[in-house]
């Protein structure tokens, strides 16, 4: 039943344990065709395990999972025919050149030679790997490896792509390039399922975001909807003395915080209208502001809000236990 209107991915009550360690504990999700879906969570939340189950690398202990309409445990080959996977650790062959890696993938997808050559040429160009195409990939930078990795995934023209932490460990420029690539995939109508530890990444890329914590989904919605639920966003105002602070508090109709601090905090969902109103009110009251900072919600705020505790993860970018 893979008609073009059914969701790209549906998962109902997915459970997976490794020994006593419960990694996924009753997960439900649904991903629309052609959308970008982000599974957001700290290290060890179970993101990679979920991707492995969806990509037929791991069997769930329990749950009904369909990818492109096919059951992942009963029809794994039908699933494999339409997906592409780019894992957290780059899956390129170090002893081959970039071009040889792509040729290997084209051969495994049983493409005819002229078609393969054309597609390899296109992908090398699109991912800015033309100059490095005939060098062994062991000489590639992290960003280049990740781009080659994704190009290898795209050789087979997958309908659905899984990207497990596509930008972890990349420098800011490579990260931006990767974001542009992911957006362009979505524009081509490819369904993208990505995992990330960065709220900003989910915010930039995803149509829908699900937040995973200790094997549970604690929230699901568009990035905007989620951010509205997180009160972490605020405008911080700093004043030269207590008098101006008091005047500002009066103008903005908010309480003055206890203690010796010369600041005021105005909760906001980050929209410009709130900021404009605050500045206008201060202007009308002729209050001098020493400094202004806008604090946008980050993953810490999300976790603090939704789970009542900080995420407690290790170093950013360190590997996730599976």
């Amino acid at each position: 039943m893979s008609d073009s209107y059914s969701p790209a991915i549906t998962a109902v009550d997915v459970r997976k344990s490794f020994g006593d360690n419960v990694v996924l504990d009753g997960l439900d999700l649904s991903v629309e065709r052609g959308s970008v879906f982000a599974l957001l969570g700290p290290n060890g939340a179970g993101k990679t395990t979920m991707v492995r189950i969806l990509a037929t690398l791991l069997e769930p202990d329990h749950g009904e999972i369909r990818v492109a309409g096919h059951d992942v445990t009963r029809e794994p080959d039908a699933v494999r025919a339409v997906i592409g996977v780019t894992g957290q650790f780059s899956a390129v062959d170090d002893l081959l050149t970039g071009r040889e890696n792509l040729t290997l993938m084209a051969d495994l997808h049983h493409l005819a030679t002229p078609e393969a050559q054309r597609r390899i040429g296109d992908l090398l160009e699109r991912f800015e790997l033309v100059d490095a195409a005939d060098r062994m990939t062991v000489t590639y930078s992290g960003g280049m490896r990740r781009r080659l990795d994704l190009a290898m995934t795209l050789i087979g023209s997958p309908q659905i792509i899984f990207l497990d932490e596509p930008t972890t460990g990349l420098d800011p420029r490579s990260r931006r390039t990767m974001w542009e690539i992911v957006r362009s995939l979505a524009d081509e109508g490819i369904t993208v399922f990505l995992t990330t530890q960065y709220l900003e990444e989910a915010d930039r890329l995803a149509d829908r975001v699900a937040i995973l914590d200790r094997g549970h989904l604690v929230a699901q919605g568009s990035a905007q909807e989620l951010k509205e639920r997180i009160p972490g966003g605020r405008i911080d105002l700093r004043f030269a003395d207590a008098t101006t602070q008091l005047a500002a508090a009066g103008a903005l109709d908010i309480p003055v915080p206890d203690g010796d601090v010369l600041t005021l905090q105005i909760p906001t969902d980050g929209n410009v209208a709130t900021l404009r109103r605050v500045l206008r009110d201060l202007d009308e009251a002729a209050v001098d502001v020493d400094g202004l900072a806008i604090h946008t919600p980050d993953l810490d705020d999300v976790f603090l809000t939704l789970t009542g505790r900080p995420d407690g993860s290790g170093e950013p970018g360190s590997e996730e236990a599976s």
Binding site: R80, F89, A91, D94, L95, D107, L108, H110, M152
Partner: protein, 261 residues
């Protein structure tokens, strides 16, 4: 069905493994040179004395003829050993996850390793035979007997390569994988490959007579010296097939159940 692509995918993977052999000469030259060094060492250092134990007054010449079939088995064992390392290297890297999420003939990854190692084994055997003939190996056998001997060596190679594949899958790291198949190159020493088993103490002799390398060595030796092979030939073939089946089943189980890196 993905099995319609069995041959095509296996050849693709073989091409990948052949490129690896070319790009990583440190690993692929070892099974070629090690048996040559052992051949020269045994013939020129120990051969003069050992040869007299084979045939009274036979000396080095007698030992070359006795040793060469044994060195050929040693060559096969040495080349098989490398497979465990390359399989383990694959399994500990992300590439295996990629292969497993593609609709390809699943055993193609392993088939590529087996065929690649077999190719390396044949090259090694060619070099070792050339050196043996150069330093005076005197085979009385004609083309048919040479082909039969090579056929048996290929059967042994397939068996030992599958053992090595299974060990490479079993090992949790590349380091372990390079140590586990070590027994493969020790077994020829505990057989009739280097000295007649009759010269060994009773317990060792019992082991040597009943382990696969002895009937296989004897069969190759008799074939190449133009002598009657006898029941050793059947025993040799049965050993090779039994090891192949056992190791293949174990390897397939490990491959399908081992979590990817």
């Amino acid at each position: 069905m993905t099995s319609t692509y069995a041959v095509r995918d296996s050849i693709t993977m073989l091409r990948r493994n052949l490129l690896h052999l070319r790009r990583y000469p440190g690993l692929s030259l070892f099974p070629i040179f090690m048996p040559v060094i052992f051949l020269l060492l045994f013939v020129y250092v120990f051969g003069g004395t050992l040869g007299n134990g084979i045939t009274a007054g036979g000396g080095r010449g007698a030992y070359i003829n006795f040793l060469t079939p044994g060195i050929l088995l040693f060559t096969v064992a040495g080349a098989a050993q490398i497979t465990a390392i390359s399989v383990a290297k694959d399994m500990t890297e992300g590439i295996i996850a990629r292969f497993k999420t593609m609709r390809i003939w699943r055993p193609a990854v392993l088939a590529g390793h087996v065929l690649g190692s077999l190719f390396l084994t044949l090259i090694s055997l060619g070099v070792v035979i050339a050196v043996a003939l150069l330093i005076g190996y005197d085979s009385a056998a004609g083309a048919m007997r040479w082909l039969a001997a090579l056929g048996l060596l290929v059967l042994l190679a397939i068996a030992l390569i599958w053992v090595s594949v299974a060990l490479g899958l079993f090992a949790k790291s590349v380091e372990t994988a390079s140590n586990l198949p070590m027994f493969l190159i020790l077994l020829p020493f505990l057989s009739s490959a280097f000295v007649p088993v009759a010269s060994m103490p009773a317990a060792l002799r019992w082991f040597a007579e009943n382990q696969p390398f002895t009937p296989i060595t004897n069969t190759v030796r008799h074939l190449l010296l133009g002598q009657h092979v006898g029941s050793a030939g059947i025993t040799a073939i049965v050993w090779c097939l039994a090891i192949t089946v056992g190791a293949y089943v174990w390897a397939r189980h490990l491959y399908n159940h081992r979590p990817v890196a």
